[in-house]
């Protein structure tokens, strides 16, 4: 060991001096170059990763929204169709109802009119009948010129008319 130290001139002072030299280099490297650069590198990596993630999420969200939009639109279309269909149906029913009502009313009206006509006719007939009786009485009075018993007369006439 002594031989070794003597041969290579190993000196504790020099060893220590070199350790100090290297320590200075290590300290400066770590403190002024390594740490700041590594920090920025890592922070940038983080930032990029976050950006990528955000972009992916945004894309997914956009897709979702598009899908939803489509769904909403189709729903709206369906609803609109239904509403129109319902309205049409309603309208049809309404029209039918109206037509039915009208028909009924017409029938009623016709019936009433017929009844009235009948009544009128009957009234006219009775009136005519009375007139005819009187006329016949007058005529027969004039022809026969002699008055039969009034009651007998009436009986006769009525028999004749019948």
């Amino acid at each position: 060991m002594d031989e070794l130290i003597k041969t290579f001139h190993i000196e504790l002072n020099l060893l220590f001096a070199q350790v100090v030299n290297f320590s200075i280099v290590l300290f400066v490297l770590y403190r002024f170059a390594y740490r700041p650069i590594l920090k920025t590198l890592n922070s940038r990596t983080e930032k990029i990763e976050k950006g990528m993630r955000d972009a992916g999420e945004a894309g997914k969200k956009l897709e979702e929204i598009t899908e939803k939009e489509k769904e909403v639109l189709s729903n709206a279309k369906k609803e609109a169709c239904e509403i129109i269909k319902n309205a049409e149906e309603q309208a049809r029913i309404n029209a039918e109802n109206i037509a039915l009502e009208t028909k009924k009313q017409n029938e009623k009206l016709i019936l009433a009119t017929k009844k009235q006509i009948e009544q009128e006719k009957n009234k006219m007939l009775t009136e005519v009948k009375g007139e005819i009786v009187n006329l016949v009485i007058l005529a027969t009075e004039k022809i026969i010129d002699e008055k039969l018993d009034r009651n007998k007369d009436m009986e006769l006439i009525e028999k004749a008319i019948k």
Binding site: T7, I10, L14, Q18, F32, I37
Partner: protein, 289 residues
């Protein structure tokens, strides 16, 4: 022994043949030459180089970390790319980003410090600019600068730092008791009576495991030695090689070896830092059962 202590390569490069030793022949010695003293503190040429490297790195790193913005511009892109790649590489060793982020500063600092030291030693003027000193009636050339990692004090300091850091990480991340049991495995010994009913082989297997743990202590020392001598050996050998080539023929001939040494410099820095990372990873691994 003293003659063998210094590998003397004649590198009186520019104006003399290798065989003609001049009065002030510069030598590549196995150790860093002292330039002066402050009190009892010896300042060697390697230490001066290391100081220059520290100064360069401090300026460079402070500049790199200044004005770091979330939206990168210009140079920041390069630093970020560098750090990103380093983290990826560390991930392949440690297996988890959390550990990588914790260990990388040490590994990265080792890499930069060693790389700059290696390359600084290759610059022209390193090892050739200096002064002559009378030493025992003989003129000895003392270069003003010497590659920081071509001095065993530097590599030993770095290796010790790396290994001690790995132990620290181990203690911090898996707890002192668990970490202690990696080497002196009392847990396994205590387990024997409780497990013996279920599995008789425990009596045989656990003592072996305990012994393996004790061997680990030696391997920790080996780690320091291997880190130290690998780096020192490579860089010193490179300097010797370059000096030899320059002594043979100063023009063009050293050029390919210069490129080789550039590559060796970066490879050795990489090996050292990766090994430090591996040691830290091993130290923080939970003991498998």
């Amino acid at each position: 022994m003293t003659e063998q202590n210094s590998v003397i390569i004649d590198s009186n490069t520019i104006n003399s043949q290798a065989t003609n030793k001049s009065d002030s022949g510069s030598e590549t010695t196995l150790f860093a030459e002292p330039l002066g003293h402050i009190g009892s503190f010896v300042i060697t040429n390697s230490l001066v180089s290391s100081w220059i490297v520290v100064a360069i790195l401090v300026i460079f790193l402070v500049a790199a970390g200044k004005k770091v913005k979330n939206i990168p511009r210009g140079l920041q892109n390069i630093f970020e790319l560098f750090l990103e790649k380093a983290l990826e590489m560390a991930d392949s060793v440690t297996g988890s980003r959390k550990k990588s982020e914790k260990f990388l500063p040490i590994s990265l600092a080792l890499f930069l410090f060693i790389l700059f030291n290696n390359w600084l030693g290759l610059l022209p003027g390193m090892g050739t600019i200096g002064f002559n000193e009378m030493n025992g009636g003989q003129k000895v050339f003392i270069p003003l600068f010497r590659g920081g990692t071509a001095d065993i004090n530097t590599t030993l300091a770095l290796a010790l730092f790396a290994v001690v850091a790995s132990h620290m990480m181990g203690i911090v991340m898996i707890g002192l008791w668990n970490y202690f049991n990696k080497f002196v495995n009392i847990k396994l010994l205590l387990e024997i009576p409780t497990k013996i009913k279920k599995d008789f082989t425990v009596v045989l297997v656990n003592p072996i495991k305990v012994f393996v743990g004790l061997v680990e202590i030696i391997s920790e020392l080996a780690k320091v030695a291997s880190l130290t001598f690998r780096l020192f050996g490579n860089i010193f050998a490179g300097e010797v090689l370059l000096f030899s080539m320059m002594a043979l023929f100063a023009y063009l001939l050293p050029l390919p070896f210069m490129f080789l040494e550039l590559i060796v410099g970066i490879i050795q820095a990489l090996i050292f830092s990766i090994l430090a990372l591996v040691y830290m990873t091993i130290a923080t691994a939970e003991h498998e059962h």
